[in-house]
Amino acid sequence: MERRKRESAESSRGRLTVLAALVVLTLAEYVVGVKVAPNLSLLLLFMLAQAALIIWYSMELPKLWRRDEEEEI
C-alpha cells in the first residue's frame, strides 16, 4: 500500500510535467499561429509533438506490449 502510494506520487509528478509541457507547447503554438506564421507545416510540428506526448505518456501506449508488474501482484 505504502509502495503504491509512493509510486503514484512519483508518476503524478511525471504527469504534471507532461501537462506543463503540453500547456507550454499549446501557448507557443498559439503565439506562432496568431503572431508569427500560421502555416500548416509549422503548426503540424506542434500538433505531432503534443499528440506524441499524450499518446506515449498519458495513454501509456507502451503498456500495450509491456507487461507491468503492478497488475501481476
Binding site: S11, S12, E29, N39, M47, E70
Partner: protein, 181 residues
C-alpha cells in the same frame, strides 16, 4: 514466441481499446482531410482566445482524469471521486465553450469554412459529451462502492478514451483556429 491460450483479460481489453482508437482516428482523419480539401488553409474570423481557453481546459481535464484513475488504483475512493467530478465539470466547461463559439460564430454553417468548423467541432463535441456521460455513470458506480484497486478496467478505459479526445482536439484546434494561408 509463446502463445497463450488464455491471455490476461487486461491485455485483451487494452488491445481492443487501442484498435478502437485506430478506427476513430480514421473518422477524424476523414474530417481533417475534408476541411483542407474544401477550404484549404483559409479560416474565417473565429474567437481565438476562446479556442485557446477551451484547449487548456481540456488538457487540464486530462490530468484530473489521470488523478482519478491513480486514486482508484491505490484504493483511494475519495480522491477518485473528487478528481472524477472535477473532470466532468471541466468537460462541461469545454462543451459550454464550444456552445458559446457556436452561438457567436460570425459565419454560417452553409459557408465553406462553417461546414468544416461546425462538423469538426460537432463530431468532437459529441465525443466529449459521450465521455462526460460515461464519466457520470462511473461516478455513480464509484459512489456505490464499485471499482477497487484491483478492478478498475472500466475507469482506465474511460480515461484513455478521454485522452483520445484530447489528441483529436490537439489536431483540430490549430487547423480550425490558427492555420491561415
Amino acid at each position: 514466441m509463446t502463445v497463450h491460450a488464455e491471455p490476461r483479460r487486461e491485455t485483451v481489453n487494452r488491445l481492443g481499446l487501442w484498435l478502437f482508437f485506430c478506427s476513430e482516428f480514421f473518422l477524424f482523419a476523414a474530417l481533417f482531410a475534408a476541411r483542407f480539401y474544401l477550404a484549404g488553409p483559409y479560416h474565417a474570423k473565429v474567437n481565438q482566445p476562446l479556442g485557446l481557453a477551451i484547449t487548456l481546459v481540456l488538457l487540464v481535464s486530462g490530468f484530473t482524469a489521470y488523478r482519478a484513475e491513480a486514486g482508484i488504483r491505490r484504493g483511494d475512493r475519495s480522491a477518485f471521486l473528487r478528481n472524477l467530478l472535477v473532470t466532468i465539470l471541466l468537460g462541461l466547461v469545454f462543451l459550454a465553450g464550444v456552445g458559446v463559439e457556436w452561438a457567436t460564430a460570425e459565419f454560417a454553417p452553409s459557408s465553406i469554412f462553417g461546414t468544416a468548423f461546425f462538423t469538426m467541432t460537432g463530431v468532437h463535441a459529441s465525443h466529449v459529451l459521450s465521455g462526460v456521460v460515461a464519466f457520470a455513470l462511473a461516478y455513480r458506480l464509484g459512489l456505490r462502492g464499485h471499482f477497487s484497486a484491483e478492478r478498475h478496467w472500466g475507469v482506465e478505459a474511460l480515461v484513455k478514451y478521454w485522452y483520445l479526445i484530447d489528441v483529436v482536439w490537439v489536431f483540430f484546434f490549430p487547423v480550425l483556429y490558427l492555420v491561415r494561408a
